[in-house]
């Protein structure tokens, strides 16, 4: 009886490199578990295309460790059961997972990923994903973004002790991580958080607007999807609730600028994110934008492209290092990855991968919606780490 174990057996190959699952002497298989058909389809599409672009370029440049990347993509449509099936199928024959969308999915598989020692980059930034050696959350976690966001409000938007701040957030760990952050900051700064929790299926934020208005909030934090953010901002504008909105990076999409709510967004909306926006004037970024547009002419550029790209690069770098150490087993790849203290893809802030239980960075950009800018945003404030964020003990798991 022979059951597929997917290449390498942990033994040393011809070129003296120890190989593990997903690595043969000609190929290295990396698997992408993404969402093309579910709620995060837009994210999934950009991320995946960016990553495919990345690995193609590496292969074109001769590959890595004398091998070429083979990219396998599975679309789980944001369904935990499908995601699980896809993982079970791919894990035995993959060397790493440069993209895994959906914190429920990753959370559900956290233990198995850890047991498999399979380097995985989740495309979600919830604290629940920290604490596993094999799982690398890129950049900041949602809570850090919110902490930095609150400090931004205090420093630059005149929010002061005793004020009320609204926080509209999704049920689920995206929203709840964010809430942890805002609560922490508020508590430290003597602000009061007015919570409004919604579900991903909610569409109309009028009731929430009314509630915020009644509570007399001076600013509103937004940790929901673009739709809900738009409804909130638009509704608030009409209700004469003229306050700044600070959103997590998943709460905005350039498509929103095509809607009536546009003006309100341009006026009052700010986005906190660890990853640099595609519109940023960096050599690497500009090249990426150009290449991407060349390869996918009729797709809009957005900020997920750089994050996908850098995630791919994280995996690639780890594998290169592992190759130098002549150990392409999963253990080897993990060791190589975790050895990096200042990983810098040339896209914004450098990251520290040494501790699984600490986020790779604490610095967030403040972006502003902008019609003209690529990806619909431009940088308002260079990455900064508020001292609140400095001292913040990130909850793990």
């Amino acid at each position: 009886s022979q059951k597929a174990t997917g290449g390498g057996s942990g033994s040393a190959d011809g070129d003296g490199v120890k190989t593990g699952p997903g690595v043969t002497d000609t190929t290295i298989t990396v698997s992408i578990l993404t969402d093309f058909t579910g709620p995060y389809a837009s994210l999934g599409k950009s991320l995946t295309q960016a990553q495919q672009l990345y690995f193609e370029q590496v292969n074109a440049a001769g590959g890595v460790c004398g091998r070429k990347y083979e990219v396998v993509v599975r679309d789980h449509g944001y369904d935990t059961q499908k995601a699980m099936a896809a993982y079970t199928e791919l894990a035995p024959r993959s060397a790493a997972i440069p993209q895994f969308i959906g914190s429920p999915m990753v959370t559900a598989l956290k233990q198995r990923i850890e047991d498999d020692k399979l380097l995985t980059i989740p495309m979600a930034w919830a604290t629940s994903l920290l604490g596993a050696r094999a799982i690398q959350v890129t950049g900041t976690t949602y809570d850090l973004d919110m902490i930095n966001g609150v400090s931004f409000l205090v420093e630059e938007k005149g929010i002061k002790k005793g004020d009320k701040i609204g926080h509209l957030y999704f049920e689920g760990d995206y929203g709840e991580s964010s809430l942890n952050g805002s609560k922490y900051a508020a508590e430290k700064l003597g602000l009061e958080i007015v919570e409004q929790k919604i579900k991903a299926t909610d569409q109309d934020m009028s009731a929430q607007v009314a509630a915020f208005k009644a509570a007399g909030v001076k600013a509103i934090l937004v940790s929901v999807g673009p739709r809900q953010a738009a409804s909130l901002v638009g509704g608030a504008a009409q209700a004469g609730l003229n306050v700044p909105f600070v959103g997590s990076n998943s709460s905005y999409a350039p498509q929103l600028l095509g809607l009536p709510v546009k003006d309100a967004l341009l006026k009052n909306f700010y986005i906190m994110t660890a990853g640099a926006p595609i519109s940023m004037k960096l050599p690497v970024m500009e090249k990426l934008a150009a290449d991407y547009r060349a390869k996918y002419p009729d797709d809009t550029l957005d900020n997920s492209i750089p994050s996908g790209w850098s995630a791919a690069m994280i995996v690639d770098t780890a594998i290169k290092k592992a190759c130098e150490a002549k150990d392409l087993t999963r253990e080897g790849i993990l060791n190589a990855h975790r050895s990096q203290t200042t990983f810098d893809p040339g896209l914004g802030t450098p990251m520290d991968f040494t501790s699984p239980s600490r986020p790779a960075s604490r610095a967030s950009y403040v972006l502003k919606p902008d019609e003209k800018a690529l990806g619909g945003t431009m940088v308002l404030k260079e990455p900064f780490v508020s001292e609140l964020a400095e001292g913040y003990e990130v909850p793990v798991g």
Binding site: Q52, D75, G77, K82, A85, T107, Q111, E171, E176
Partner: protein
Amino acid sequence: MSSTAGPGRTVRPARLIAWLAAVAVLVAVPFYLEAFWLQTGLFAMSAAIGAIGLNLLTGATGQLSLGHALFLAAGAYSYIVFAEDAGLPTPVAAACAVVLAGVIGGLFSPIAGRLKGAYLGIATLALIFVGQHVLHNAGPVTGGSNGRRVPPMELFGLVFDDRPELVLLDVPFGALERLWYLGLVLLAGAAAFARGVLAGRPGIAMNAIRDHETAAGVMGVPVTRYRAAVFVLSSMYGGLAGVLLALVFRQVVPDNFGMLLSLDYLAMIVIGGLGSVAGSVLGAVFVSLLPQLLMRYGDVLPLVAEPGTGGFSPAEAARILYGAAVVAVVLFLPGGLLGLITRLRRAIPRVKEVKWAR
């Protein structure tokens, strides 16, 4: 349906051989198929158990239910709670979980006993939404949105998990391989039990309630109580399915038990064949396999394009084919897959359609 399987029916030798062959194959599977297939198979087994339960309710008793997913959740989560928090031995925990699912079904019986057809169907939707809300918000018990780890089942010293390592005939026996057999046993038991119920006194009463409530009452069937009882029974099946599913998942999150799952279950029993156990199993296998196959082999399908590039992505193709399958079966195979098979075998005389849900 119940009338075809009388108790104490003698098994023809040909049939017996067929059965033995089938069993042999099923036992051999883990030695040959890789994890993906075992897992898919286990999904199917769990689905089959759940579907049998739903079919007892919807097919045999004529009570539409869209809330089945809740009972899977109830089974899955309460297994964890009983095993982990209450520290019961896992088999006991599983049993308790099944019972608890039944109890929750029982709590619903004021509605389940009173409502009929479409009304009950939609009313049961409430179970899903309220259930989801509870799963997300009862953090201490349910672990909120992150869900909870599932303690592996342990039977007579055998742990249904990857560790401790176990190798049979130089095949590494991980969690899935081991669970495969547990799944088979549970499914077989569940199916046998359901067949017994359907063929026996309760089954006839259930069918009578479906076909003519008043007559059933006049013939001595306590209709309301019976409706509720069947609801409880089907909830327990849901619970058992949930426990098995949880063991396969190893970590359950609320998203596992959304409304789509309930709809899938309805699809299963219709595709398979209403009111019959074999039908439920067929339908379950079909519905669980189709999307998995399409996801996996999507790229080699025609019409299906590379992810990202314009055309149908595998998952989209899967969705559409799935929908088409549901439609096609009802259009062209009255009686579902089972109906097809039986008609091929001409085993049962053709039966006219009867209204069971109004």
